[in-house]
């Protein structure tokens, strides 16, 4: 489809008379969005901010009037080094690891798909598609089963290979191996999308360019660095931004693995932490305040990106 786009004949450069459009038209087009987001995002957002200044617990959910507590919730969170700050730092470190591993592996797989023959490429595509299509809850459940302490195939194979007794070895109890498994699940599910997209991008590079470089004696690595990488750079940027958003919002994988048997305190990421504080323990005021702080942190980080977008919009 995109090739059609590239091949499309250049539009004639003639001046056409612009009709004046009614100024309300864009707002009309936006009206459905505004109603939906206003009611289902805007209003909850206002409530979120309001609740973050209240002592809002289970009793308030049943109708007891909430008490205003000013910045108490915020003060409690911001001074909670072992809780909030640790979770925040953990979420960011995990995000960086996940994004780097996903993008690097995705790129390698895409290059591999360029290199191998048609049959092999089809085989790889089938494998990737299966991994990609697996719903995250089902995927996490299956991985939990692979690493099951007692009956998991991983412990079974390790026992057969090493001769030691691996049955009963818990992969989830130790936070480090817990996150190794989380990384496996997330990367396994995310690489296909990255690889497919990069592969589609790489195939757009005209063959002559690569061939010419080859004749000039450029090594495979040089060809990658000087031709292929610059060509797909904008795609990589988009993939990195998307992966960052998704990986920071990581919830299902961590939540479900904790259920199967992890240490909640040492493995929670920000989404799970908010859920535990609010939904599980009923401290809705505190959970709301964490949400607000998180948005502020995100805004601070994303500020350059927002500004760049806005500048582009001015053009």
């Amino acid at each position: 489809m995109s090739s059609t786009l590239l091949d499309a004949p250049a539009p004639p450069r003639q001046e056409i008379r612009r009709k004046r459009r009614p100024p309300y038209l864009p707002w009309l087009l936006l009206s459905a969005t505004m109603v939906l987001l206003g009611v289902l995002t805007g209003f909850p957002l206002v409530r979120l901010v309001v609740m973050s200044f209240q002592e809002y617990e289970r009793a308030q959910l049943m109708g007891l009037p909430a008490e205003w507590v000013g910045f108490d919730n915020y003060a409690a969170i911001l001074t909670d080094v072992d809780g909030f700050w640790t979770v925040l730092a953990r979420s960011f470190v995990l995000m960086v690891v996940l994004v780097v591993v996903t993008i690097v592996l995705g790129m390698l797989v895409a290059l591999l798909m360029m290199r191998v023959g048609k049959a092999m490429r089809l085989l790889v595509s089938v494998g990737l598609l299966l991994a990609w299509a697996m719903p995250s809850l089902a995927a996490t459940t299956v991985w939990g089963w692979l690493f099951d302490t007692q009956y998991g195939v991983v412990n079974n194979l390790l026992t057969k290979i090493t001769g030691d007794r691996w049955f009963g070895y818990s992969w989830l109890l130790d936070p480090l191996s817990f996150f190794v498994i989380v990384t496996c699940i997330v990367v396994w599910g995310a690489v296909p999308f990255v690889a497919f997209t990069l592969y589609a991008g790489l195939t757009q590079i005209p063959e002559e360019v690569i061939e010419a470089a080859q004749l000039d004696g450029a090594s495979a690595f040089q060809r990658f660095r000087l031709i292929q990488l610059p060509y797909v750079r904008s795609i990589v940027t988009v993939l990195v931004v998307l992966s960052m958003i998704w990986d920071l919002k990581l919830f299902t994988q961590v939540f479900v693995l904790q259920d199967i048997g992890g240490d909640r305190e040492l493995t929670s990421t920000i989404g799970v932490y908010i859920y535990q504080t609010g939904m599980a323990q009923g401290h809705y005021g505190v959970a709301s305040a964490i949400g607000v702080i998180f948005v502020i942190v995100m805004l601070a980080i994303a500020y350059p990106y927002v500004r760049r977008t806005l500048r582009e919009e001015e053009l």
Binding site: S2, L40, L61, L112, A131, V142, V238, K249, V272
Partner: protein, 283 residues
């Protein structure tokens, strides 16, 4: 000499490709294989690696589909309903909005774009309780419409954001050229721009699909009756059941929830990546 080296390299890369295949497909294989095995070959140290005819069984599927704890058929219907509605509403509403944001210059446009971006940073888990109160206030708990509304609001900002890139990617001049040829503005749009956007719509739709088909935390709160469960909630009842963590049935349930997703991805796969590339290159 060079030929031999090339052959060796080819074989090496072939082996690598095979490894990629095995690594990505193994969990899926293991899920399917387990789902056809009886419990005594799943647990215990004598694992069966393949459901050979002598041990092959459909019991796990029977247990999953006829579970008294959570009915399967309503869960399928609910999931399909919610996913379909979310997909359609998000695409239509999002598409219209993205047109407004790309093809028009108006006051407030930039603010709107920033808001769309900022909204995506709010952690959804913090909003669940407010969402619940709203949906409850409208008497829409345990209804497909209630859950669809929440999901649509959840995916809409991302949908608009992505579609905006795609619409930007289609040069305005194409439409203008068509208008010179006598098309109305709307006509030019439908005949020229819209077809070029199809891959973009598919790509964006996939994300709405993933969200609506996989989500379970909001569903947990909104869909509380057994007959209102979506598939992820249904799958969770197997994992959670305290007395019988029946791994065979859990895997059978996982297979059942994955099949529609695999079909959907098979259909859209080609279009989607193409769409994303053109969106990124042009956007």
């Amino acid at each position: 000499m060079i030929n031999i080296r090339k052959r060796l390299a080819d074989t090496g890369f072939g082996v690598l490709a095979l490894m990629v295949f095995v690594l990505s497909a193994f969990p899926v294989y293991w899920m399917v294989s387990t789902s056809f095995l009886p419990n005594n070959r799943i647990r215990g140290e004598n694992l069966a690696f393949f459901p050979t005819p002598d041990v092959f069984t459909l019991d796990n599927y029977r247990a999953a589909i006829f579970s008294p704890r959570a009915p399967f058929a309503p869960a399928v219907l609910n999931s399909i309903g919610v996913t379909f509605l979310t997909l359609v509403i998000a695409l239509v509403v999002g598409f219209v909005a993205s047109l407004a944001l790309t093809r028009f210059q108006f006051k407030g446009r930039r603010t709107f774009i920033v808001l769309i971006l900022v909204v995506q940073m709010i952690p959804g888990e913090a909003m669940i309780i407010s969402m619940f109160r709203i949906i409850d206030g409208w008497q829409l708990l345990n209804t497909i419409i209630g859950l669809t509304l929440v999901y649509t609001a959840g995916v809409l900002p991302f949908t608009i954001w992505t579609l905006r890139g795609f619409v930007n990617g289609v040069p305005k001049e194409l439409e203008e050229a068509a208008m010179i040829d006598g098309c109305s503005r709307a006509g030019a749009f439908w005949r020229v721009t819209f077809p070029l956007l199809a891959p973009g719509l598919v790509a964006t739709g996939v994300f709405a699909f993933i969200q609506a088909w996989n989500e379970f935390v909001t569903a947990l709160v909104i869909m509380q009756r057994p007959e209102a469960m979506t598939l992820p909630l249904w799958l969770r009842t197997f994992v959670q059941a305290t007395q019988a963590t029946n791994w065979g049935a859990v895997m059978a349930a996982s297979v059942l929830i994955a099949i529609p997703a695999v079909i959907f991805f098979l259909i859209v796969q080609g279009r989607m990546t193409g769409g994303l590339v053109s969106g990124a290159v042009k956007g």
